[in-house]
Subunit: 214 residues, 2 copies
Amino acid sequence: MAYRRTERVEEQLQDKRDRILQAVRAVVGEVGFHGAQVATVAEAAGVATGTVYRHFPSKGELFAEALALNAQHEVDVVAAVAQADGSPSARLADALRVFSRRAVRARRLAWAMIAEPAEPDVDAARLTYRRAFSDVFERLIREGIDQDEFPPQNAQASAACLMGALSEGLIGPLAPEAGSLPDTRALIEQITAFCLQAVSARHYPSLRLVESKP
Amino acid sequence: MAYRRTERVEEQLQDKRDRILQAVRAVVGEVGFHGAQVATVAEAAGVATGTVYRHFPSKGELFAEALALNAQHEVDVVAAVAQADGSPSARLADALRVFSRRAVRARRLAWAMIAEPAEPDVDAARLTYRRAFSDVFERLIREGIDQDEFPPQNAQASAACLMGALSEGLIGPLAPEAGSLPDTRALIEQITAFCLQAVSARHYPSLRLVESKP
DNA sequence: TGAAGAAGTGAATTGGAATTCATATCATGG
DNA sequence: CCATGATATGAATTCCAATTCACTTCTTCA
């Protein structure tokens, strides 16, 4: 025997892996998924292109893992807010606000994470985390229903709608083409109000049914 | 002179163009944008690959135009419902329902139109039509505000949120991975109710402000 | 110190679909 | 029915970034 992976090497390896993941984050935050090539990421991480492939099996998986890392962190932050003190509706409002604020602050990155087209692996990861956020909201809605703060409703469907309203409400303003943000604070309050009303309103107008012409 | 484009030829040309666009619709409705290659579309249209390029400058533009064709039709249908008789809220509910029903019926196609990743040109067209739908909703919200049916609000932001809630509420169920649809009718009512409440609720709970930890 | 095995490198290869283009077929009008 | 010009064809080419791999550099331990 003449070689054994020592702990120091193990750490260096882990370190390099992390640096590559961080580089993805940095590059994507800069030029989005569109402009993020493996070679660019490698350069940003200070390694050769080939090295990337010693740590990740493919571009798709690398990018998906980078997204997961980021998204999980956001989920944790939002979940923490959702579990704080206060009524379910107050916590839901807080959670929505925190999500929005953080997205608006890291605009390009947020847009990439939420909406920019990317490899299938990335889309899959995105789906997962969309659901993770949705789950956080769903739990809050359930709590609210239990405490009679929200009327009975399909919590899962409401949570999905809420996630949609949130991202679409932000995406327009977040999209790179959209110019500078208008009144961010007001926008966030609008979105929050929209969502809160949707889940907490006691009655909705009597609705007439129509048949659609196919 | 020995050749002049006769009217018959003109028609044939137009016809072929249309057939190609329809072929895109058919292929995308079958295998999504992902599996839709120019060669496949050409075959479905009964022409050679090269012929496609005599009618469209690039794959992206072809696909974008096909999407636009489809989306414009949907916008027209929804707009028609939105302009029918009845109170703004009733019409808004109808518009939402019609959109959803039609999406659910042409599931694969709808998913591709709404959410499937595709060439940049297609995404651009998607954005445009998302806004077109959103505009229809926005007009209804304004009407509702004018008639005191909805409380004052930023109609544009609400419309965007509404569009988001609608597509996200549907996307989960529409996504190809998701199995067979559960109770479609109930789901559509859930989504409609969510949206209606969001724009029509008179009050929303007093909300506490928190600072996010960056 | 050096032999054995790992990890790193980046130029060269690959792959797969979009796009082109030389050739064939068709339409027109004299 | 030919000359002229348009349109159609689909095999061959192009393009371009992901991925590979022969080679170099680094680590370990006897």
